[in-house]
Symmetry: C2
Subunit: 413 residues, 2 copies
Amino acid sequence: MGIARRDEVGQRSETVRRANLSAIVRELHLSGPLTRSELVAHTGLTRSAIRGLIGELVSADIVSEEKAEPLGLPGRPSPVVKPNPTATAVLALDILVDSSAAALVGLGGVVMEQVRVDRPRGHFGVDEVIAELAELADTVRKRRPDTDPLIGVGVAVVGMVRRADGFVSMAPNLGWRDVALAERLAEVLGTTAPISIANEADLGALAELRRGVSVSAGDVLFISGEVGVGGGLIVGGEALTGSSGYGGEIGHMPINPAGLSCRCGSVGCWETEVGEEALLRRAGRPPGGGRQAVDDLLRDAAAGMPVALLALEEEGQWLGRGLAGLVNVFNPRQIVLGGLIGRIYPFVAELLERELDRLALPGSRDLVRIVPASLGVDAALLGAAELAFEPLLNDPGAWIGPRRAAALLGAGA
Amino acid sequence: MGIARRDEVGQRSETVRRANLSAIVRELHLSGPLTRSELVAHTGLTRSAIRGLIGELVSADIVSEEKAEPLGLPGRPSPVVKPNPTATAVLALDILVDSSAAALVGLGGVVMEQVRVDRPRGHFGVDEVIAELAELADTVRKRRPDTDPLIGVGVAVVGMVRRADGFVSMAPNLGWRDVALAERLAEVLGTTAPISIANEADLGALAELRRGVSVSAGDVLFISGEVGVGGGLIVGGEALTGSSGYGGEIGHMPINPAGLSCRCGSVGCWETEVGEEALLRRAGRPPGGGRQAVDDLLRDAAAGMPVALLALEEEGQWLGRGLAGLVNVFNPRQIVLGGLIGRIYPFVAELLERELDRLALPGSRDLVRIVPASLGVDAALLGAAELAFEPLLNDPGAWIGPRRAAALLGAGA
DNA sequence: GCCCGATTGTAAGAGTCTGCAACAAACATT
DNA sequence: AATGTTTGTTGCAGACTCTTACAATCGGGC
């Protein structure tokens, strides 16, 4: 991220071990429990290498080995290696438009505990929300004290987040500006685990990539539409964050110079044409109705009410127009529609395909597939967990020496 | 690119050697000749490791060592390691709107030979252009027969290119559709070196990143404006190609639903508002005048002619509006303006900054800097060379055993 | 119930790579 | 000419994985 460092590029032989440990843990995290011999096949390492590495992971409590059930196949059965969720737990938090949540998630993506509380829409003080999060976190952690100490904390926020230090530059849906969220959370959470914060749509995209409909896709455009429209971009299997982590604000592409003025200060942004407010306005309904109002509209459309159908058609046209532009710029293989936009997808699916045929460049258009998101409200929460796992996945070795010491200290206290 | 392979991720100790060789060669390619001790400092490797690796590179003729001139400093002088351009030469070709070129470039970016021929604008048969390129290639290669055998061939084309196999899906400025360019070139060039092809703007961005104004920048948006508007995106130090290599077509973002119809079949694409034709139209001049017509317009503007100034102002507003959207989506650190857009930059610089202040999101806007491109017409050609170097930079080891054998064979024949 | 083939874990030795430390070489300064 | 500084050279040790041979555990067939 940011400036490319051409420093310290030299590799040492220790690097190999780190990379191999990382490959094994990542594989287990993504695919779930695997036998040793499956790991041999997946990683290309030899049995002896796997043996040594697994041994180390076992002794650090990151994974455990179990005798395999006989499968009815010839040959010696291979022990099953499974992630040890309690010793590798992360705390995931999210701050959405109208709810907050906390969850404890273990390696492999196992959700051990989860709480979500609704919150009316509107502006909320930073203190208020942080207190709410601290309480949620306390609730889940008290239910599972065996997950201490935590590997990390991941947070999803509806707003623009600078990744390096978890600074929220702007969160219009909450009425926030310039909040040092990571610092504030560190004070109240009572854990020394590192805190990573990112945008809700970015993390929704990550969750779909790891656990949802984008598994095994490398170039994905994820759209999360609620009040505003956010975007998460996966490029070559990795999240596009931009130079400071503010990237992906596709809701603020200028699309209609004759359009309405946007909360961001510009005019005719995409979200003024495809956001929740635009949809309700076109159907002649009052703004601010939230999820309920949109569901009513969709029910009316399903019942054949002309105003509702017309509103959805217009929505679909603007959606298609914006998507075509994004397809031309990113050439993704998959477009994932989440939130509001995922809910209206069934009504506009054919229209969207037609608009892409008409407006997008053939080379890029041909391969792209539009699909609805699969993880629902919890997408960002799961993504926050994935974000928190990242350091462990990249360098499990760091948890092997020191971590044991820390665990023993914790037990002694 | 494409599907993320989670296969064969295991690393062996040979990997380390490969990575270290790669780091050294890449460092020399980017920074030019360096002393051994500078290499030690840059890579973080030890003197003994550097010694072994350099020795291998020398014996493979990829680099050579020379005694250092005494610099007036105490201590034993460190020998200078310099790339050996003739043994590491690539052939770079470009097919632009109104010219074609060929060059022989050696490791380190040394242009050893170069030819460019102009060509009137308009549609040209594939055979015609390929014959032209073959002749240009022949010319430069005959002048430097010592560069045989070539390391690779890189080609820049004004069109949409599928990177995997060098297939040109569309090149409106040439009137091409679905041309298997890599195959066709392989037939006529008479070399077995691998041929890599990419879009002209993408390679312009790469050239600026390696040799121009974006050196040491990690997230860059490069804009190449001629008849159309192309874009090259650098994300985290690497080119964004999209899933098939068609990415970066920022000229075809929809920006004005009430705008003109575009060559691509859509309506109101960005390039219909900021391309050459739009600029001339606004100044009340006939389209198709090419570079000359634009230069006339700029001269008139410099002389204070109101129509010309007004046309440039409108151009700047549309430019700013599009840039603001791209800044919101990509959060780049730098925007590089090339081609037509680079030439008009002096006239719109302040306006652009104002428009960004007004339209882009604060977090992303704050850090971004707009600069004109530095490499001129040859940007794409230099980028094509960089593209062709890539395999050598990534794995110099592959040229160490086999390459020597090939060189000896060539000498014997 | 025993033997055989298949598959996989285990253990020891070898190979490859880099880091470390001591020494030698080449330069400037005094 | 002596001294200090920087850097190449060399030999040894450490870390890691691969190879190879062997033992363990399964199903199937006689």
